[in-house]
């Protein structure tokens, strides 16, 4: 029993040590982003939907050529999403109330301050770099695609057609090209002909956005999308029409993705430590109950046996006494009889 309890405690302790780390890492906290990290500001009032950012991204990142050339704007008739061959896409949104014409919006990885993909990855394939980009490391990825489940912006994509080494494909904010010194701004930003995209430090971008709000009263909604959404993102949007009309969800809230699972993960070490103790306790109670029941049974049997023996002894004693009494009376009877006979004989002789 002692050894068993020890073993189970050992197991629990081991599990707790292994898992305790995760709960700590996922504890509730506020992360305002790496200071000095970079991002991009997208201005929906400037974008003309020319798709040159798509072309720039495609070229810089060496992605396969799409079936329709980039100057074919008919693809904008359909709402598209990023896929394994396209890190970024521009969509056109028609018939928005209050807008003079169609509004365009570019989509790509938002580079969250606390990325859902990085938090959900069980091999830590994603890294939030201090420069702001969220990058993916193909050398450890198992291809489980939980990052795609987790991402609130539907950004990571998967090479379903690859047999040996399918990759997760998503925008890297050209982090690798910029750190290698090949580029100074991401491919899409460099290709934009109307400065709808600005690359810079996130703090500066927020200031630039507010500057435009002040400089062009009535042109913008007083909201920078990405400042707080999902805990904040390095990619920021400003627009003259509601964000939900240009495909940006307004119901995401400001809680960062890791916080949604931190509570559940925090319970893990508690289960790992408290559960074995409780279960051993339950086991001990039942063992004790069994033992008591067994003892009571033994006791009852002993008592019953003793009682039976006692009764038997008494019976025997009584029988013995009875027998002795019988014998005595029989002797007396015989003696009396003999005496009587003797007396009778005497009287007859006397006659």
């Amino acid at each position: 029993m002692k050894r068993r309890a020890f073993l189970s405690l050992l197991g629990a302790g081991g599990a707790a040590c292994l898992l305790g780390q995760s709960a700590q890492a996922a504890g509730p906290k506020e992360f305002p982003g790496y200071p000095g990290s970079f991002g991009v500001l997208f201005d929906a009032t400037r974008c003309i939907g020319c798709r040159r950012c798509e072309a720039g991204c495609n070229q810089v990142n060496g992605l396969p050529a799409p079936p329709e050339p980039f100057d074919d704007l008919s693809v904008l008739n359909k709402t598209r999403r990023t896929n394994a061959k396209t890190y970024t896409i521009v969509n056109r949104y028609d018939n928005i109330p209050g807008a003079a014409g169609p509004v365009f919006r570019k989509n790509q990885c938002q580079h969250c301050l606390e990325p859902a993909c990085a938090s959900s990855c069980f091999v830590r394939a994603f890294t939030k770099t201090p420069q702001g980009a969220v990058t993916w490391d193909g050398s450890v990825c198992v291809g489980c695609r939980y990052c795609m489940i987790a991402c609130p912006f539907d950004i990571p994509t998967f090479e379903y057609g690859e047999v040996i080494s399918p990759r997760i494909m998503k925008c890297t904010m050209c982090w690798d090209h910029i750190t290698a010194g090949k580029l100074t701004v991401p491919g899409c930003v460099g290709a934009c002909p109307v400065e709808a995209l600005v690359y810079g430090k996130r703090a500066d971008l927020l200031r630039i956005a507010r500057g435009r709000f002040a400089a062009f009263p009535g042109r913008y909604l007083d909201h920078i999308y990405g400042e707080h959404e999902m805990g904040g993102t390095n990619w920021l949007y400003i627009s003259g029409v509601p964000f939900k009309d240009i495909g940006l969800r307004e119901d995401l809230g400001t809680t960062s993705a890791p916080q949604y699972t931190s509570g559940a993960l925090a319970v893990v070490p508690i289960i790992a430590t408290a559960w074995p103790a409780l279960l051993v306790g339950v086991y001990a109670i039942h063992r004790r109950m069994d033992k008591v029941a067994h003892e009571e049974q033994v006791q009852a049997v002993t008592q019953a046996v003793a009682k039976a023996q006692e009764e038997a002894a008494a019976k025997l004693a009584k029988a013995k006494a009875d027998a002795a009494a019988d014998k005595k009376s029989a002797i007396e009877r015989e003696v009396k009889k003999a005496l009587e006979e003797a007396a009778k004989a005497q009287t007859e002789e006397d006659k």
Partner: protein, 415 residues
């Protein structure tokens, strides 16, 4: 791909033909999967990265294999020794269930040979999936150790068998701890994506819902399987198993009824806390009520009735509906509620090849179960390793099986 049985005359039974076809198709799709990639066989998209190989093979597979930890906990920790004969079949089912879950994952993930990476190369400890993976990995080992005495008895290795049997309590507790963690964590997987889930199926209590419903599923699976085994493997059962079977059926039915009622009420608590009542009057609400009333409340009621009236047939109905209800729930969470805002055209429906692989894997499980249950002491105690002391007044009957009798009973074949 052999379905060879020792009975040559009746080789072409309907059972063998159907199994043969399933195995052939499964083998064919397997080749396609590993030559054409996931795109070649699945309907998965960037919006729906997880299809039925996760919904059914992983989520349902793990929930339905919960009979292992519930039965062994009932017997060894909660002192319900009358369930002892149900432990081995339940452990075997759980072991095979988890093995097949891990096997199925090799089809689903992009680079299956890297599945050990989270534990040996680089750990992402902030991921719920890491917790699931680690617990499933450790629990699979635990289940293997729990199952291995059957094989050791079959092979006649007494010493190692006795060492493992002495670890029963520790193994059981370890199993319960691991099961609590990963059964609940499968629900916790979806906590990270509230914006993609329909509010009726999203709750901070998702882990609790998954854990409690898994207990009901586990208990129901033990009943369901007991019924099937009774039908097809009757000849392999000893008197103890048969005598205890009714007690197990009704005892588990009672347990499942209680657990289902608890589950019903915590689901109501979930709706209340998030104030999601108004969603009940939508189409999704009707579907939610269909699941909650038809597959939680109804089986709870059937179980309670069955126990009260001592009706074994009704228990079986309760078990089947509960099992279907768990499958429905896991599908609802992972496929129906997930991405509910997407337009219907972008929704996922599995390809026939994905279904074929799931059927193939279940069939493999059935075949291995039958093989082990006909060869090893699962439904009976090995005559050389008896732990069950015959009750007083019951004569020590001769073991029903001769050790070298390996031929399956004719009744166990051809069905």
């Amino acid at each position: 791909m052999s379905t060879a049985t020792p009975m040559k005359k009746t080789w072409l039974t309907p059972f063998n033909i159907i199994v043969g076809i399933i195995l052939l198709v499964g083998g064919f799709v397997t080749i396609l999967r590993f030559t054409k990639g996931l795109a070649g066989v699945t309907n998965l998209t960037d919006n729906y990265p997880w299809g039925i190989w996760i919904s059914f093979d992983l989520l349902c597979g793990v929930a339905l294999a919960a009979g292992g930890f519930t039965t062994s906990a009932a017997c060894y920790i909660f002192g319900l020794k009358r369930f002892h004969s149900a432990v081995r079949p339940a452990i075997l089912t759980a072991f095979l269930g988890y093995s097949l879950v891990v096997f199925a994952l090799h089809y689903d993930v992009g680079r299956p040979w890297r599945l050990p990476y989270p534990f040996f190369v680089q750990s992402g400890t902030t991921s719920v999936l890491f917790e699931v993976g680690l617990c499933v990995f450790l629990y699979l080992i635990t289940l293997f150790v729990e199952w291995v005495p059957s094989a050791l008895e079959w092979l006649g290795f007494k010493k190692p068998r006795n060492v493992i049997v002495r670890m029963t309590l520790a193994l059981t507790i370890f199993g319960v701890v691991l099961s609590t963690m990963h059964q609940s964590s499968l629900g916790a997987l979806y906590l990270i994506a509230p914006s993609k889930m329909h509010p009726l199926w999203y709750s901070m209590f998702l882990p609790l819902f998954f854990f409690v419903s898994a207990i009901a599923a586990g208990l129901s699976m033990v009943i369901f399987e007991g019924t099937l085994s009774h039908h097809y493997l009757h000849a392999k059962m000893d008197k103890t198993y048969l005598k205890e079977h009714d007690g197990v059926t009704f005892g588990f039915a009672k347990g499942a009824a209680v657990v289902l009622v608890v589950y019903f009420f915590i689901k109501i608590v979930g709706i209340t806390l998030d104030n999601n009542w108004h969603y009940l009057f939508t189409g999704y609400g009707a579907w939610f009520l269909f699941e909650l009333l038809g597959f939680v409340a109804l089986p709870a009621f059937l179980y309670a009735m069955a126990v009260r009236e001592h009706n074994a047939c009704l228990v079986r109905w309760g078990a089947v509906i509960t099992v279907l209800g768990i499958v429905l729930n896991r599908f609802n969470v992972s496929l129906v509620a997930f991405n509910w805002q997407l337009p219907p055209a972008q929704k996922y429906f599995p390809s026939w090849m994905e279904i074929a692989i799931s059927v193939f894997i279940v069939t493999l499980g059935l075949l291995v179960f039958r093989f082990i249950a006909t060869k090893m002491p699962i439904f009976y105690e090995h005559p050389n390793f008896r732990e069950h002391v015959p009750h007083e007044g019951e004569e020590e009957e001769a073991p029903e099986f001769v050790e070298h009798e390996l031929k399956p009973h004719p009744q166990s074949l051809g069905h």
